[in-house]
C-alpha cells in the first residue's frame, strides 16, 4: 500500500477531528518515561489495569512520556468531563482509592492531586516550577502516547512536513531555519540553518542526516525525555532536514543505555514507514528517505560528532580532525548534517509557525527556548524548558524553588563536564550561548547541576575531571596524558598535598590542554578546573595553605570530633565505626582516636544527637 500526500492529509485531518471530539472522554494516563518507570510506573499501570478491569469500567488507560516534574513521579493523569487532573507520587496501593473516589464517585482525591492541567505549553501555571516555563519542544511530552503515531498526528504532528513537501523549496526551508536563528542545542551553538546550507551546497550525490542522541553528560536527560516522550518530533525534524539538504538516508545514534528511547524510536520508525513517511517513495513524492538506528556502546566521546561518525562506520569512536567538517566530508566521506535531538525537535514548529514565532523568544543571538535538566541541590529537580536569556537566578530560584533544605547557594555547573562552574555573583547572567562562553562555561547540552555550601569546588573539579579523563579516547597527547596529570594534581589537593605554586602549574597545564587538544572533549575538559580556579580560588588556597576543606567534603582534611557536651554515650557511633577508632564507656562522652579514624563518616550518620562534627 502506498500512501500519497493527499490520503495522508485526509487521514491526519480525521485523527485531529477525532481528538477534538473525544477530548473529554474519561481516560487514565500514566507517566511512563524512564523517570516514571524508575519510580514504579509499571506497578501503577498494572494496578490500574486490574482495578479498571475488576470494576468493569470502560475507561481508556494510556501511557505518556515525562512531563518534566520527575521528582513527583509516578504521575497519573485522570481525564474527566472537567478536564485533566494530575496525581503525583502515585503508588500501586493508592490506585484503588483514586479509581474509587475520582472515577466512580466523581470525587477527586485532593490531597494527592498535583493540579489541573492548563495548557501543554504551561501545564500547571500555579506551580512555581512551571510558571516561568515555556514548553515548545516539550509541548507534547507528557501528553501524547509516544508509541502512537496516530496520537502524534492528532496533535498536529507531521503538519510541518506536509507543509514543506507541499509548498516549500529546500532553499526556502533553509532560509526559514536561518531566519529563525536556531542554533545547535548540542553544546557549541552552531547556527543550524548555516550547517544545513553548507551540507546542501557540498558537492555529492549521496548525503546523510545524522541525529546525535548520544547524550552522555552526567546528570543530563533532556534528549532522552524527548525521545521517550515525543519521538516523532525528532523524526519529523530529520525528515525535513533530509529533504532540505538532499539526503536520502539518516542515522540516529542513540546510546544503548537508553533502551526505552531506542524501543520507542524503533516503534516510531516502523510506524512512519507504515504510513509512507519513510521508504522508497515518501508520501508519493518519488523521493527516498530512510532512517536507521545505531546504538552506541557507551563511550562519552561518541557524542563528539566526528567520533560519532567513526562509530557509525564501525570504527572505534575516535574523533577526527576538523576540517574537513562533516558538512563537507562526514559519514563514509559524504556530506553529512549532524544535529542533536533537541535541535531536530525544534524544527517542525519553526516551519509550522514561522521563524518569527520562534525568534519571538530569546535574546539577540540566542533564540527560542532551551531545555535543561535541573539537578543537584535544588528544591525541585526535573526537566525544564525556559526561554533563552532567562537568568540563572530565575531558573534556580523561581523554577527550581531554590536550594534544598534552605542551604546556601554556592554555584552551578552548567554544560556538563565540558562546561564551567559559575558562582553566586553570576546568578544574574542571562542564559544564552555567548554570555556563558564569555563567563568560561558553555551551554552544553543543557545539564544544570546546582551546588550548595556543602559542595567542595576542588572535589567537584576532581569529579568532572575524573569523568573526562576516563572518557578520553586517548588519541591525542594533551587530553590523554594532560587530564590524567590534572586529575592527579586535584586528587593531591583534595588530600591536602601540594605546594601553593601547584595551582599555577595546574592552570597552565589546563590551558595547554585546552589549546592543543584535538576535539571538543579535550578542549573543554579543563573548563571545570579553570572556572573553579577562577571563581573559587580561595577554596583551593584553603586546601593548599591551611589544609582545610571549607565544604567539609575532602576526607583527608577532615577531623572528626565528638562534642563532649552533646554526647550522651549511647554507643551508636562506636558500634558502626569500622576501625574501632571510637572509645568510651556507656553513658559517658565518647572520643575518636584521630590516628585510627579513616574519616568514613559512619559515626556522623549514626549519632542520634548530632554530637559528632567534622
Amino acid at each position: 500500500m502506498s500512501i500519497d500526500l493527499e490520503s495522508f492529509k485526509a487521514m491526519k485531518h480525521e485523527l485531529e477531528e477525532r481528538r477534538q471530539a473525544g477530548k473529554a472522554r474519561r481516560t487514565v494516563i500514566v507517566g511512563m518515561g524512564t523517570c516514571g518507570i524508575a519510580a514504579g510506573a509499571q506497578q501503577v499501570w498494572a494496578a490500574l489495569r486490574q482495578e479498571l478491569n475488576n470494576r468493569g469500567l470502560p475507561i481508556a488507560l494510556k501511557k505518556t512520556g515525562c512531563i518534566g516534574i520527575c521528582e513527583r513521579e509516578v504521575l497519573v493523569d485522570v481525564v474527566d468531563e472537567e478536564g485533566r487532573w494530575t496525581y503525583g507520587d502515585v503508588t500501586a496501593d493508592k490506585v484503588p482509592a483514586i479509581i474509587e473516589s475520582h472515577l466512580v464517585n466523581n470525587r477527586r482525591v485532593d490531597e494527592w492531586l498535583l493540579g489541573k492541567v492548563d495548557s501543554p505549553e504551561c501545564p500547571y501555571p500555579d506551580m512555581g516550577f512551571y510558571r516561568k516555563q515555556v514548553r515548545r519542544v516539550l509541548v507534547r511530552c507528557g501528553f501524547i502516547d509516544p508509541e502512537s503515531i496516530d496520537d502524534y498526528l492528532a496533535w498536529g504532528g507531521y503538519s510541518a512536513l506536509v507543509k514543506v513537501l507541499e509548498s516549500m523549496t529546500p532553499e526556502q526551508v533553509i532560509e526559514e531555519i536561518e531566519r529563525s536563528g536556531l542554533r545547535g542545542r548540542g553544546g557549541a551553538g552552531f547556527p543550524t540553518g548555516l550547517k544545513w546550507r553548507l551540507t546542501r551546497q557540498a558537492p555529492g550525490e549521496i548525503k546523510y542526516v545524522v541525529c546525535n542522541a548520544d547524550e552522555g553528560d552526567p546528570g543530563a536527560f533532556m534528549d532522552r525525555s524527548i525521545l521517550e516522550g515525543d519521538p516523532h518530533a525528532v523524526l519529523e525534524g530529520m525528515m525535513i532536514a533530509g529533504w532540505a539538504i538532499g539526503a536520502q538516508e539518516g542515522y540516529i545514534y542513540v546510546r544503548a543505555e537508553y533502551p526505552l528511547a531506542i524501543k520507542r524510536l524503533r516503534i516510531a520508525i516502523q510506524q512512519a514507514r507504515d504510513y509512507g513517511l519513510l521508504g522508497e517513495n515518501v508520501l508519493g513524492t518519488g523521493r527516498r528517505f530512510e532512517l536507521k538506528i545505531k546504538e552506541g556502546a557507551g563511550a562519552f566521546v561518541c557524542g563528539e560528532e566526528t567520533a560519532l561518525l567513526a562509530s557509525i562506520e564501525g570504527s572505534r569512536g575516535m574523533p577526527r580532525p576538523r576540517p574537513p567538517f562533516p558538512a563537507q566530508k562526514g559519514l563514509w566521506g559524504r556530506p553529512t548534517n549532524i544535529n542533536n535531538v533537541e535541535t531536530y525537535a525544534n524544527v517542525p514548529a519553526i516551519l509550522l509557525h514561522g521563524a518569527d514565532w520562534f525568534a519571538s523568544l530569546g535574546t539577540e543571538r540566542s533564540k527560542g527556548t532551551k531545555v535543561f535538566a535541573l539537578t543537584g541541590k535544588v528544591a525541585h529537580t526535573g526537566l525544564v524548558e525556559v526561554p533563552m536569556g532567562m537568568t540563572l537566578r530565575e531558573i534556580i530560584f523561581d523554577v527550581g524553588g531554590g536550594i534544598k533544605g534552605g542551604k546556601q547557594f554556592k554555584g552551578v555547573q552548567i554544560g556538563g563536564p565540558s562546561g564551567g562552574c559559575l558562582p553566586a555573583d553570576k546568578l544574574d547572567l542571562p542564559i544564552d550561548y555567548d554570555s556563558l562562553t564569555a563567563a568560561g562555561a558553555m551551554m552544553g547540552s543543557g545539564g544544570l547541576v546546582v551546588l550548595d555550601e556543602e559542595t567542595c569546588m576542588v572535589d567537584l573539579a576532581r569529579f568532572f575531571l575524573n569523568f573526562t579523563q576516563s572518557e578520553s579516547c586517548g588519541k591525542c597527547t594533551p587530553c590523554r596524558e594532560g587530564t590524567k596529570r590534572m586529575l592527579e594534581t586535584l586528587e593531591r589537593i583534595c588530600e591536602g598535598e601540594g605546594d601553593p605554586d601547584v595551582l599555577e602549574r595546574l592552570a597552565s597545564l589546563a590551558q595547554t590542554v585546552k589549546d592543543t587538544s584535538l576535539c571538543g572533549l579535550g578542549q573543554t575538559a579543563p573548563n571545570p578546573v579553570l572556572t573553579t580556579i577562577r571563581y573559587f580560588r580561595e577554596e583551593y588556597e584553603a586546601h593548599l595553605g591551611e589544609k582545610r576543606c571549607p565544604a567539609k567534603v575532602c576526607r583527608a582534611l577532615l577531623e572528626f570530633r565528638i562534642l563532649r557536651d552533646a554526647c550522651r554515650g549511647c554507643g551508636a557511633c562506636k558500634k558502626v565505626c569500622p576501625v574501632e577508632a571510637i572509645t568510651g564507656e556507656r553513658k559517658e562522652p565518647h572520643e575518636i582516636n584521630a590516628a585510627l579514624c579513616t574519616r568514613c563518616g559512619a559515626c556522623v550518620e549514626a549519632c542520634p544527637f548530632d554530637a559528632i562534627v567534622r
Partner: protein
C-alpha cells in the same frame, strides 16, 4: 587545482589547496616537530607536537591536519608554541620509561630527539605510569607498551596501508593502549608480521628481536640493497656491525614504497648460519672432503672439457640461478656458450614463467610485466588470477588490497579461496587447469555483447576474426561446465572487466604451470587486447615473477634459445655481435630446457651438469625422477650457499656468496634493474659466484676477468639493446626499468604504449585442453601446489631463519572438510598423499579454502615434498611442467604414521 599563498614564519609560500600547514612548511625547509605524522600514513593529528600559532585561530592547531587557507599567517616557533611542545613532551615523558641507556632505539628515537631539542630532561609531573610487561609472544619483534606513545603510526600502518586490522586502540582514557582483539598474541590475529609497524614506530615500543642487544644506530652501518626473496624487489638496509648483518630495515624505493613483508624484514638469519658452505668440497665415496679452490676448479674445468671432448658439447649443461645477480647469470651463460660451446643453459624460470615468456612474446613481442607495480593504484579494476598474491608477493598483495579499499574493483579467479578472494567483488573459483575455458568464456561474453574496444582492435591488433570464430563455442553455460564457475558470474566478470576504463590483469603460476600454460597466457593476452587494456597506465597483462632475479636471469640469456636481451641464438646477426665481443663462436642450435635436461640425463645423454644456486631436488616436478636423473649424471657440480638436497648428490660443491656478500644488479618483476650492494664478506673461503665463474673460465683456458660487476654490466649494456642505457652509475637508488636503450632513456614504466613490441598485437585463438592428468577412480582428487607467506621456494633460506620457520614449521595438505569427512580424516591428522609418481606423509588441515575435489600442498618442505607427487608433463611450446595439477589420492594414517584408515 587552486593555489594558495600563506605566510609561515614571515616567509611566503604557495601550495595547492588541500595541502596542510605542515607540508607547506616543509616546502620552505621548515620541519615542524612531529611524532604521529608520517608521510606514508593518513594524517591523524594525535601527538599535537606539531602545534603552531595561526593568527585568528582558536588555541594552537596541529599543523599536520590543518589545511592551508588563503592569507593564513602561521608561526611555528614562538615561545607559546615552544612552551606547549615542552608541555606535551613533559606529559609524554611522565608516562615513558627513561631507560635510554639500554633502549634499542636510542639514537634514532624521535622522543629522545625532541626531548633533547626542547631540553626536557625528565617529567615535572609525577604520578601513575602504565606498567605493562613487554610482549615477546611473536618470533619477530617485541612490543614494549610502556614505551608506546600512542602516536598511532603502527595502527594506521596495519589498517590503512597493510589492510590487516590486527591491532587497534583499546580501552579509554589513561588506560588506552594499542592491542590486539582481546589481547591475544599477534600470532593469533590477522597479523602477517610484515614489520612495517616496526619501521614506522618512532620510539622503542616496537623493536626487532633479531637485532636485540647487538648494536644501536651509531654502531652499525646501513647498506642499501635489494631483498633476496620474491620478485617485488623491495629495497632494504642491512645493518652491519663487525662484519655481521645484525638487522634489517626498509629503505624507500619506487617498487615497494618503503614497505616490506615478513621475509624481507626478518628473514636474514640464513646469512650467518653455521651450516653455510665455507670451502669447496669434493665427493669421496658417500661423503665429501674439503678441497682448495685450485683443486676443485681444476677438477671441474678438467671434467667439463673432457666431457665435451668425449661426448660433444650437447652432453654438458648448466642451470643458472634466479637468485644470483644479472652479472653472474650473464657470465654463466657466457662460459657455457663461449667456452663449452653449448646452449644447454636454462634455469628455474622454466618452472615458473616459461609460458609467459613464450606467450607474451607471441602476443605482444615481449615476455614481461607490461606495467609497473605502482600502477596498481591507477587501475579501476584488478583481475588477479592464479596468484595468491598476499602470500607470494606480499607487498604487491597489500597494494591490491589498498587499491580495492580505495575504490578499485577486484575480480579474483583461483581454485582456492585465497585471502584476496575475501576482498574481491567477484570470486571465480575455477577448477585447476580450466583457465583457457574461463578466459575464452569472458572473451566470448565481451564479443557477444560487443563490449570490446573496436578502435584498439582495428588499429593495434591482428587476428581478431579468427579469435571471434574460435570463441564461438565458449558460452557461459559451456564454460560453467568445464570450470565450475557459475555462468552468471562469468557474464558479470566479463562486463566488469570490459567496461572499466583501466583494467589490469595480474597473474602468476596458477596460469603458467600447466601443460596449457602458454595457451593460458595467450587467452589472457587476447582478453586484454580485446578491451584495449594494454599499453596504457593502470592496465596491462602482468605476470608476477617469483624469484628476486628470475626476470634478470631470463633477460641475461639464461635460456637455451636466446642470448641476453631475448636475442635469438638462431639469428646469425646476433651471434656475430656476441662472437665479436666474446672472441668465441656461439652455438646455433637452441639447447635443452630444465625438464628436458633431466630427461636427457636419465637417458644418459647428458653427462655433466653445472648447477648454480638451484635446487631441482625440491623445485622440479616428479622428484623421484629428478633424483634418478641427477644420480645418472656422470659429473655434477653444485655451486650454492648451503648443502641443499641437490648439492648432496654433487661430485663437486662450490661455496658461493649470498646476496649480502656481493655487488651486482637484480631485475625485479616490473623490469626494474636495481643495484645490490655488498654488506659483509662471504663466510670462510666462499667466493662471489661471478668470481668463481671467472676463475673457472680461466681454468678452462678462456681469459675472463673483471674487477667489479659494474664492468660486467658494461659488457651487458653493449650487447643487450634493452639494457643499452643501463650503467652502474645511472642506476642510483631507484634503478631503471627496461627497455632502456641509451644513456638518455629514462626507462619504460609500461610497455606497448603506441605500438606493440612486435608491431601489432596478435590474437591467438586457443582451445581448452584438459590437464595432462585428471582425477579418476584410483586418484580421485586434484592436487594443486603453491607457496606460503613464511617460506620461500625450497626453503634453503627461509627454513634457516628461525622466525619464519617458527611460523610455518610443518608441511600440510589443505582438504575441504566435507571431503575429509568422506575420507575419515580429521583436522591435524597424518595422511598419506599419493600420485602415480610417489607418495608423501603429512598432516591434514581442513579448510573451506579449497573446493571439495581439490587439495593443496605447499612445496617448500623436503620432508614431504609436494614435487614427489607432481607431474612432469610439459607444455609443448614453453616446456613448463604441469606443477599445478595432478591426480592424487589421500588416505588417513594413525597418529604415528601407521595405517589408520580403512575401518
Amino acid at each position: 587545482m587552486k593555489e594558495i599563498t600563506i605566510e609561515i614564519d614571515g616567509r611566503r609560500v604557495t601550495v595547492p589547496e588541500g595541502v596542510t600547514v605542515f607540508e607547506a612548511a616543509l616546502k620552505l625547509g621548515i620541519e615542524i616537530p612531529h611524532l604521529c605524522y608520517h608521510p606514508s600514513l593518513p594524517f591523524l593529528g594525535a601527538c599535537r607536537l606539531c602545534v603552531v600559532e595561526i593568527e585568528g585561530a582558536r588555541g594552537l592547531p596541529a599543523s599536520c591536519v590543518t589545511p592551508v587557507a588563503a592569507g593564513m599567517v602561521v608561526r611555528t616557533n614562538t615561545e607559546r608554541v615552544r612552551e606547549a611542545r615542552r608541555t606535551i613532551l613533559d606529559l609524554l615523558l611522565a608516562n615513558h620509561p627513561l631507560d635510554c641507556l639500554t633502549c634499542e632505539k636510542a639514537g634514532e628515537c624521535r622522543l629522545q630527539h625532541y626531548a633533547y631539542e626542547y631540553g626536557v630532561a625528565s617529567s615535572t609531573w609525577q604520578g601513575e605510569r602504565k606498567r605493562l610487561e613487554p610482549d615477546e609472544s611473536n618470533p619477530f619483534f617485541v612490543r614494549d607498551q610502556e614505551k608506546c606513545i600512542l602516536c598511532g603510526r603502527c595502527v594506521r600502518m596495519c589498517q590503512d596501508v597493510q589492510g590487516r586490522h590486527a591491532i587497534d586502540y583499546v580501552h579509554r582514557g589513561f588506560a588506552v593502549r594499542v592491542s590486539t582483539p582481546y589481547d591475544v598474541s599477534l600470532t593469533e590475529t590477522s597479523c602477517v608480521f610484515c614489520g612495517n609497524c616496526v619501521t614506522v614506530c618512532p620510539v622503542g615500543a616496537l623493536t626487532p628481536k633479531m637485532s636485540r642487544g647487538r648494536g644501536r644506530t651509531w654502531e652499525y652501518t646501513k647498506v642499501r640493497t635489494v631483498c633476496p626473496y620474491c620478485g617485488v624487489g623491495c629495497n632494504v638496509y642491512l645493518h652491519v656491525k663487525d662484519g655481521r648483518v645484525i638487522g634489517a630495515s626498509a629503505a624507500e624505493g619506487p617498487a615497494h614504497e618503503g614497505l616490506l613483508c615478513v621475509k624481507g624484514h626478518f628473514g636474514y638469519e640464513f646469512i650467518h648460519r653455521p651450516d653455510r658452505l665455507r670451502v669447496p668440497l669434493i665427493r669421496q665415496g658417500k661423503s665429501f672432503r674439503e678441497a682448495s679452490w685450485e683443486e676443485a676448479l681444476s677438477l671441474v674445468a678438467g671434467r667439463l672439457l673432457e666431457t665435451r671432448k668425449r661426448y660433444g658439447a650437447s652432453a654438458v649443461a648448466a642451470l643458472a640461478s634466479a637468485k644470483c645477480t644479472n652479472e653472474e647469470n650473464y657470465l654463466l651463460q657466457k662460459v657455457f656458450r663461449a667456452v663449452l660451446g653449448t646452449n644447454n643453459v636454462d634455469h628455474c624460470a622454466r618452472l615458473c614463467h616459461a609460458s609467459t615468456v613464450v606467450g607474451l612474446a607471441a602476443a605482444f613481442g615481449s615476455g614481461a610485466m607490461t606495467n609497473s607495480i605502482r600502477e596498481i593504484a591507477e587501475a579501476e579494476l584488478l583481475l588477479v588470477t592464479g596468484s595468491n598474491t598476499t602470500e607470494t608477493h606480499p607487498v604487491i598483495g597489500t597494494r591490491i588490497i589498498r587499491a580495492k579499499r580505495a575504490g578499485a574493483r577486484l575480480i579474483v579467479a583461483d581454485p582456492r579461496r585465497i585471502a584476496l578472494a575475501e576482498e574481491a567483488d567477484l570470486f571465480l573459483q575455477l577448477l585447476p587447469g580450466s583457465n583457457v575455458a574461463l578466459f575464452n568464456g569472458l572473451a566470448h561474453v565481451i564479443v557477444k555483447e560487443k563490449l570490446y574496444d573496436a578502435q584498439f582492435i582495428a588499429e593495434r591488433t591482428e587476428g581478431f576474426a579468427e579469435l571471434v570464430e574460435a570463441l564461438e563455442p565458449y558460452t557461459p553455460e559451456y564454460v560453467e561446465g568445464i570450470t565450475g564457475v557459475p555462468a552468471e558470474l562469468i557474464v558479470r566478470a566479463a562486463r566488469m572487466y570490459a567496461t572499466a576504463r583501466r583494467a589490469m590483469i595480474l597473474y602468476s603460476m596458477g596460469i603458467t604451470q600447466h601443460t596449457s600454460g602458454t595457451d593460458n597466457v595467450l587467452a589472457i593476452a587476447n582478453l586484454a587486447m580485446l578491451c584495449g587494456h594494454v599499453g596504457r597506465e593502470g592496465t596491462g597483462v602482468n605476470p608476477l615473477r617469483g624469484q628476486n632475479n628470475v626476470q634478470g636471469a631470463c633477460d641475461l640469456g639464461a635460456l637455451p634459445n636466446v642470448l641476453p636481451g631475448y636475442q635469438r641464438v638462431d639469428d646469425a646477426e646476433v651471434r656475430r655481435k656476441f662472437e665479436e665481443c666474446w672472441g668465441a663462436p656461439v652455438p646455433t642450435q637452441p639447447g635443452l630446457t630444465v625438464v628436458e635436461m633431466m630427461e636427457a640425463a636419465a637417458r644418459g645423454q647428458l653427462r655433466a651438469l653445472y648447477i648454480m644456486g638451484e635446487n631441482p631436488m625440491l623445485s622440479d616436478p616428479d622428484i623421484n625422477h629428478v633424483r634418478e636423473a641427477l644420480e645418472k649424471v656422470e659429473f655434477l657440480v653444485v655451486q650454492d650457499i648451503f648443502m641443499t638436497e641437490t648439492a648432496c648428490l654433487a661430485d663437486v660443491v662450490l661455496p658461493g656468496a649470498c646476496f649480502a656478500e656481493k655487488d651486482g644488479t637484480f631485475t625485479n618483476t616490473e623490469r626494474r634493474v636495481q643495484r645490490v650492494h655488498k654488506a659483509v664478506d662471504p663466510p670462510g673461503e666462499a667466493l662471489p659466484d661471478w668470481v668463481i665463474l671467472c676463475r673457472l673460465a680461466q681454468k678452462m683456458g678462456y681469459p675472463m676477468s673483471y674487477d667489479h660487476p659494474r664492468e660486467i654490466l658494461e659488457e651487458i649494456r653493449r650487447l643487450t639493446p634493452i639494457y643499452g642505457g643501463i650503467s652502474w652509475e645511472r642506476l642510483g637508488t631507484d634503478g631503471l626499468q627496461w627497455p632502456c636503450r641509451d644513456a638518455d632513456d629514462p626507462g619504460t614504466p609500461y610497455l606497448h604504449k603506441d605500438r606493440f613490441a612486435r608491431g601489432k598485437g596478435k590474437f591467438h585463438p586457443v582451445k581448452y585442453r584438459p590437464p595432462a592428468e585428471l582425477a579418476d577412480e584410483e586418484y580421485p582428487l586434484l592436487l594443486t601446489t603453491g607457496r606460503l607467506l613464511y617460506q620461500f621456494h625450497t626453503g634453503s633460506m627461509s627454513r634457516r631463519s628461525q622466525g619464519l620457520e617458527a611460523m610455518a614449521p610443518e608441511p600440510y595438505i589443505e582438504i575441504n572438510p566435507r571431503t575429509a569427512e568422506v575420507l575419515g580424516i580429521g583436522d591435524g591428522q597424518l595422511v598419506e598423499v599419493a600420485s602415480r609418481r610417489g607418495s608423501i606423509t603429512l598432516r591434514a588441515r581442513l579448510t573451506e579454502r579449497v573446493a571439495r575435489q581439490v587439495v593443496f600442498v605447499p612445496f617448500h618442505y623436503a620432508e614431504a615434498a609436494a614435487n614427489v607427487l607432481t607431474n612432469s608433463a610439459l607444455d609443448p611450446r614453453a616446456k613448463i611442467p604441469e606443477l599445478k595439477v595432478c591426480a592424487v589420492r589421500v588416505r588417513p594414517l594413525g597418529a604415528n604414521g601407521s595405517d589408520g584408515g580403512g575401518s
